[in-house]
Symmetry: C2
Subunit: 196 residues, 2 copies
DNA sequence: GACAAGCACGAACGATCGTACTATATTGGA
DNA sequence: TCCAATATAGTACGATCGTTCGTGCTTGTC
């Protein structure tokens, strides 16, 4: 890794943290330069535009997300256990970043801001939902889930649960939410499970 | 209503629309002045600070929300029917505003911005969750729900469902989501319902 | 018709925004 | 060790940010 790529990683790390707190649009080049002890122009030279900076932050986040959330879950045996592992990894992921999940923040931030950033975000969200769907499919294959279930439906309900958890946890600072989340997940899995 | 109060309503209406799209923090006084055909200073005089403007937008939104979503639902008979009415009103509410639900947008926007705006938002969200909880309580009283259910748990699961719907609907433009939402709501209500 | 209050305006403030240039360090290969 | 490439800093730009101030235009009241 060259020196330039090295500092770029530092910038992206700091930018990711900033975006998780204030939103991707609120990441300003001047403020980011202060946090990384660089000059505005020196930092800017790495990205050529703010739009590129935002996109690279998103892609950097996606790399970390894949490595910390998805891949470890895929190493466990397919079925409800893998789904629970994924959920636990996701919760740990929202704890790693100071502000919470950057994708949740960016989603509300860019839902009405057309452009390349929104396009990237959309593809990422679709990939994530597809990941959830495949979790359900492999749970069918493993025999944990019934065969007649709607995997899209499952993905939607599971993602909804995570979004609810995120709001209770990050905005309302609700202490009991982890337990509520556990119960809701159990109810969801039970309903989709093969009756014994 | 005096002339001043009249234009203030126009400003808040436009500000609410803007906040629902770009977020409450992205509502700029200059841009809002353009949309309402006013001067920056003329508009500013109504609020004395941007913080006050944001707070008044939130309160204006809460008034509309109560009138369009909560009150009509409370006029129906308590129980699962009332909950369904509330959900339908909520969906219609997210359709009324160009960008979606302002509270969802503001929640991610202000989760890490301490201050008066965040305090107001927090109280509003707690009131909303309390509203959902009372819906469950009255459903118990009416005999629709079992008596041993956890109303906080129900509020969390229902709110999560709405958040998921909002993301699919507003960011992903998912056409099938209304049907997915309907199915998930049925599953939720069934699980909490008194067995016949 | 004078007067006060309410309301909106234009101009200007310092700060920060994203971006464009130019120049100076720092680096790795010949 | 010299050179070219890479990497950072400095300065400046027009635009916009939230905010302040002074001014004039409408109102409704006496």
């Amino acid at each position: 890794m060259t020196r330039g790529e090295d500092t770029k990683q530092v910038i992206l790390e700091s930018g990711l943290d900033m975006a998780s707190q204030l939103g991707l649009e609120a990441v300003s080049i001047g403020e980011l330069a202060k946090k990384t002890d660089m000059s505005k122009s020196g930092l800017f030279a790495h990205f050529q535009s703010k739009e590129n900076l935002q996109i690279e932050i998103l892609k950097h986040a996606a790399d970390l997300f894949a490595a910390d959330v998805v891949v470890p879950a895929l190493k466990t045996k397919a079925g409800t256990g893998r789904i629970e592992a994924l959920v636990n990894n996701w919760i740990r992921w929202t704890d790693m970043l100071t502000g919470g999940c950057i994708f949740v923040a960016a989603s509300t931030d860019f839902k009405d801001r057309p452009g390349k950033v929104r396009d990237v975000l959309l593809r990422q969200q679709e990939a994530w939902i597809d990941c959830l769907r495949r979790m359900a499919q492999s749970a069918i294959a493993s025999g944990d889930f019934r065969e007649d279930i709607d995997c899209d439906q499952f993905a939607f309900e599971l993602y909804s649960l995570l979004l609810g958890f995120h709001l209770y946890y990050k905005l309302l600072n609700n202490k009991d939410i982890q337990e509520h989340q556990r119960i809701a997940l159990k109810r969801l899995l039970d309903d989709y499970q093969r009756s014994p």
